[in-house]
Amino acid sequence: MADPAASVQVAACGCITPFGDAAATYAALLRGECALRPVAVLGRDGGDEVPLALIPGRSLDETAPPEWLAAVRRLSESIPGGDWGSPGRPVFVTGSNFGVGGLYALRRTGDSSFAAWGAFPTCTERLRAELGWGPDVSIVSHACVSAHLGLLLASRLIWAGVADQALVLSFDFLSPFVAGGFHALKILNSAFPAPYRERESGAIGLGDGAGFAVLARGRGDWTLAGQGLYNEMHHFTANRGDGSGFSQCLAGATAAAQGRRVWFKGHGTGTLDAGRLEVAAAQGAFPGAPIVGWKGSLGHTLGSCGLVELAIAIESVRGGRTPGTAGAGGRAMGESVALESFDNGAFDAVVCASNAFGGAHAAFLLCHA
């Protein structure tokens, strides 16, 4: 079967992070800046301080309407075209929490206005109205591979001739509910993350993030070849110990990368087991390819990370230099982990990979159209 993505191109792509848009984020990563700051995990209710990267001026606590709406509105202004959500121009809204923190705020405060933003359908419907979209809007949520799944579904619609172009928008903004959940799992703690580094204990950071991509048939500078999604169906929070899930999802990208020299934009949250498995799989599939991860600066932007980091990867190719793996110190988990920024002019393509709770994995090969 032909690669459904081959005839589909990225006509536009962008993101927003605590550093700003994709260009500003890329520049900050190259400068080695860290967006993570110690923040009380339960917001105004206090708790341990954990590394979070919040959009400037936004507090962790929920508001109704959400403060993050302004960031999404700002991002949407850079989405080209119009009539999104009308026939032939579908929208996929992807993310992992869709303002679910509103439900926690509702419980804490009793203020019913929080309920309107606390569930996927109501949150998306309000967003649709805010941004003036038509009714053809689908919700896609599969934890931290949500954005990848949205890109794949949009690609298939275009490839099948159902749509000429499609918008994939992904967002995840932090709340005490989200931060508290990761804190309860003990993977969000007082330590700053050091992705792909050997340490005694692992740690992640979390970050606000949103991104978009406009996919179109035969129009755009980039293709997402070899898109792959794989679910281990193994355990809610654990990966198979042999790392097979990480390898399986790279099959499509590996095939698409034949004859190309690639660098690898990994998931790299800062947890130890997953980091080791991902590095081993990446080194096995793409021997010698430099591996980078940026969540040590941006934090993990959860369901939006696939699109946020795609936008930064595109900026990296345009800029000719790839930001190195961000985060606190330690010995690298493999010889291919690039801790320093490097010139990427000699490379043809970028493998972009993400992993998620539930043993879900996703990857694609970003290359010039």
Partner: protein, 91 residues
């Protein structure tokens, strides 16, 4: 005479995880709690950690520390003795 902390921890494991076919006395002191004969997994570990923190006033900082603490009932007892609020330990 049985160590009261060991006995309390075994009862806490059975209660917290609602182990219907396991009696506290069935849990060996030295067997791995996670991935051992009790077939506990990371979600069970999360529940246990939350309960242990409340019961004994301890604070487990990371998932790796939790894994070390839950290596076995004996390891857990040593951890709680070292880190727990002495006033909350059974005598």
């Amino acid at each position: 005479m049985a160590d009261p902390l060991i006995a309390r921890l075994k009862q806490l494991i059975v209660d917290t995880l609602r182990l219907e076919d396991v009696a506290p006395a069935d849990i060996p002191d030295a067997e791995p709690l996670i991935g051992g004969g009790l077939s506990l997994d990371s979600i069970d570990a999360l529940e246990l950690v939350v309960r242990l923190e409340k019961e004994f006033g301890i604070k487990i900082a990371s998932s790796e520390e939790a894994r070390r603490a839950l290596a076995s009932v004996a390891a857990l007892a040593a951890y709680v003795r070292e880190r727990g609020d002495p006033a909350r330990l059974p005598t």
